[in-house]
Symmetry: C2
Subunit: 106 residues, 2 copies
């Protein structure tokens, strides 16, 4: 007997983290290796790695190894309802814009 409510809560709790949402936003554009994510989000490697592990164990992302790199990609096959929602997350472009200092207008 599985508790549907608990399952839903668990998934939502997983999504209820700013760093994980940022990661998912990036992965929506294309797969990335851990180092990319670290650089793009300005966090530490272990931190990114641990968030990725959680996302992976929930089935939200997949990983595959290529040489010494580990690439992560979004896997929403089991979560069709999340597509629309995740599409609202900022990706790389929006992130760069928000980071860059916009020049003052005359």
């Amino acid at each position: 007997m599985h508790d549907k409510l608990a399952d839903m809560a668990e998934l939502l709790k997983l999504l209820g983290d700013r760093m994980r949402l940022a990661i998912l936003g990036l992965l929506q554009e294309r797969e990335l290796c851990v180092g990319d994510i670290v650089e793009l989000l300005g966090t530490s490697q272990p931190n990114a790695s641990q968030h990725l592990r959680k996302l992976k164990s929930a089935g939200l992302v997949r990983e595959y190894k290529r040489g010494q790199w580990v690439y992560y990609s979004l896997n929403l096959n089991d979560f069709p309802d999340l597509r629309i929602f995740l599409s609202q997350l900022p990706g790389r472009k929006e992130r760069l814009i928000s980071l860059a200092e916009l020049p003052d207008r005359k």
Copy 2:
């Protein structure tokens, strides 16, 4: 400047709690006073009250007082995207069914 990502994370974190999901599921059918929720969910009055406070401060529920009772109702006007999602939550009927011991079949 507001952090959209942080706002989304905050809302999802709020939803990522089994008890709060259960409350929202009940409120989807009809407004309820705190005592009703306590009884239906089998939790303590302070516990229900505190979860309701969080849901209210996020704007997900409204409250109105009638005599010594305080009624809470769902308010999804500001969260149109949540409707479909919340409609999947179990309400009173599903809850009663899952609580009742189903008789064995011969």
